[in-house]
Symmetry: C2
Subunit: 347 residues, 2 copies
């Protein structure tokens, strides 16, 4: 068993992890291992938003961003997902990952910056850009199986062996290297600045982003039925609670998304992604809100029924980003889009 914090990011602690050194988790989990040369990554969400059937503008936007990802300074990995939001708009988000911030910066300057600035016009749709560029001390990953990377982990060198810091509340915090010396408390509050159709968000310190996904592509029929009938509906309820009422508990926005393939068709993968005031707010929801307690209970029943035979794959990535590691920009989007739900600055 190994620590989820890689040796080269270990430092003298001023804060303790939550479990004793002899803690042994009841089942295996794994984390992505990045080569020591990786000091910062970029996680960039490029959204298209439209009402009703896909517009010509949306189609063009999706083609453009895919083409941009194939240009110089390309991301190491990207995928695409879709959902219908609380206002009834379809949102398609292309999510790209880089492991060298200078390369991301060059790409963004050449290809990404115009996406939601208003410089590039797409008729009949809105566009938005949500980026975090965390130092490697500021994020963690977790996988139920070590044979399929998702998200930022696709850029990693390898998967770890079994790690110690999981299967208890507070495990995500303990896996983030910065937790060795920092409480990662938020300060300030995000504010929206609007100029016509264009909106930016002035970030606050230590926003938290989670992408938490499931892949039922390998499940045999009976396991698939259990997942789709006994777990997914409860997961969906929790995701809808966060989407509709999350602000009251520090969740600025939540999207429960289906990953789509190159032709835009549904795959058998989904994930929730949400923006939180702080890691602490996410922790509180996860460990004690009735909606997540229900999800956890359903998942636990499922996994304890199936045991190691379970073919469902689970993963997540959690980031706590400094204010200067965040970038939010929205063009022609409805006012409930993503981080736009935070209060506006006085005009």
């Amino acid at each position: 068993m190994e620590s989820s914090i890689p040796i080269h990011l270990e430092c003298p602690r001023t804060r303790q992890k939550r479990v004793p050194d002899d803690y042994e988790p009841p089942y295996p989990s794994f984390v992505a291992r990045f080569r020591p040369g990786v000091t910062q990554v970029a996680m960039a969400y490029f959204g298209v938003q439209y009402q009703g059937a896909e517009t010509e503008g949306a189609r063009r936007a999706l083609a453009d961003i895919a083409q941009a990802f194939a240009a110089g300074q390309a991301p190491g990995h990207w995928d695409r997902a879709r959902y219908v939001d609380e206002a009834g708009y379809t949102n398609v988000i292309s999510i790209a990952y880089w492991d060298r911030p200078a390369v991301f910066d060059a790409w963004f300057g050449a290809q990404g910056a115009s996406w939601a600035s208003g410089a590039r016009k797409y008729q009949g749709c809105g566009t938005f850009t949500e980026v975090v560029r965390p130092a490697v001390e500021r994020y963690e990953t977790l996988f139920s199986a070590n044979d399929r990377a998702e998200g930022v982990a696709v850029l990693a060198d390898s998967m770890s062996g079994m790690v110690q810091e999981h299967a208890y509340w507070g495990g995500a915090r303990d896996r983030i290297p910065a937790s060795q010396t920092s409480d990662m408390a938020p300060s300030g509050a995000p504010r929206v600045v609007t100029e016509g159709l264009h909106r930016r968000v002035v970030p606050h310190e230590n926003i938290c982003l989670i992408r938490s996904g499931q892949d039922w592509g390998d499940t045999p029929p009976e396991e698939r039925r259990m997942y789709l009938e006994e777990v997914e509906p409860i997961l969906r309820q929790g995701m809808e609670f966060l989407r509709d009422q999350g602000v009251s508990i520090g969740c600025f926005a939540n999207r429960y998304m289906r990953v789509v393939d190159a032709q835009g068709g549904d795959t058998e993968k989904s994930f929730g992604m949400s923006w939180w005031k702080s890691l602490a707010a996410l922790e509180r929801w996860a460990e004690s809100h009735p909606t997540h307690v229900a999800i956890f209970g359903a998942a636990m029943k499922y996994l304890s029924t199936l045991g190691p035979a379970a073919k469902l794959k689970l993963y997540h990535e959690v980031t706590v980003a400094a204010a200067d590691e965040q970038y939010f920009e929205y063009f022609n989007c409805h006012p409930q889009t993503g981080m736009l739900r935070v209060p506006s600055s006085p005009a």
Copy 2:
């Protein structure tokens, strides 16, 4: 809102509590406040064990211990509870609390020491003594309502106002004053020493004792039905898991008991009491074992359905005792009784 750690027990921290300073629990809870002069308490469990109908010896033993509690150096509070154990024996335990260790010592020397030493003989039953005498830094209490004390809290001066450190996993640890500077890790392992019918347990450092109770006496009919039909059976399953399989996860013994009245009749109060290798082992079961996740889910559903109108009262007390604060003695008890389930010393 106030801290559950009283001001006179606050000290410079080397360890952090798990929630930020601005954390606000989602519902109120309260702790017992002892006057600053109380530096140590005694929690003493005097058990009688018999098979089948109550024996004459058991009847006499129960009368004797009640009489002893009424003598000089009397406990500040005591109550009595009963259950049938995994071996089919009825166990009746008289539980007494003192808030001055010198008074307890005097009482114990005069009245208590002979209970399970073999010096006093009760035909047709076994007797056992399980005592912890924790410094006030080493235990915590928690109450869902501030109008009815139970257990050690009956000795307290008063109930606190609403406290901050609850409604999250790790709250019990954060309420124990010693957690400010200690991980309260266990060291060593308890061992049983047997001489004929008489057995003692050589303690280890930082055993954990929890007494966690419920009182449905005030519930109106529909709430009572919900508790008895939807919560209690799930609680019972968890208690039986700990009783029968707890050793595998660090629970040495668990008793799910019904409080009885002076005539030995059932009251509408019950509690689980269990001995754990460590507070960490208790934490892990509570927060992630399927049996407690089920209990937590059922309780959460119940309480969120009823809201503040709920009349069910919940409380617990959790102690982490040093080796020299423990005393275990068994006479003529079957080998699965309480702490006797830990391994024996070589003869």
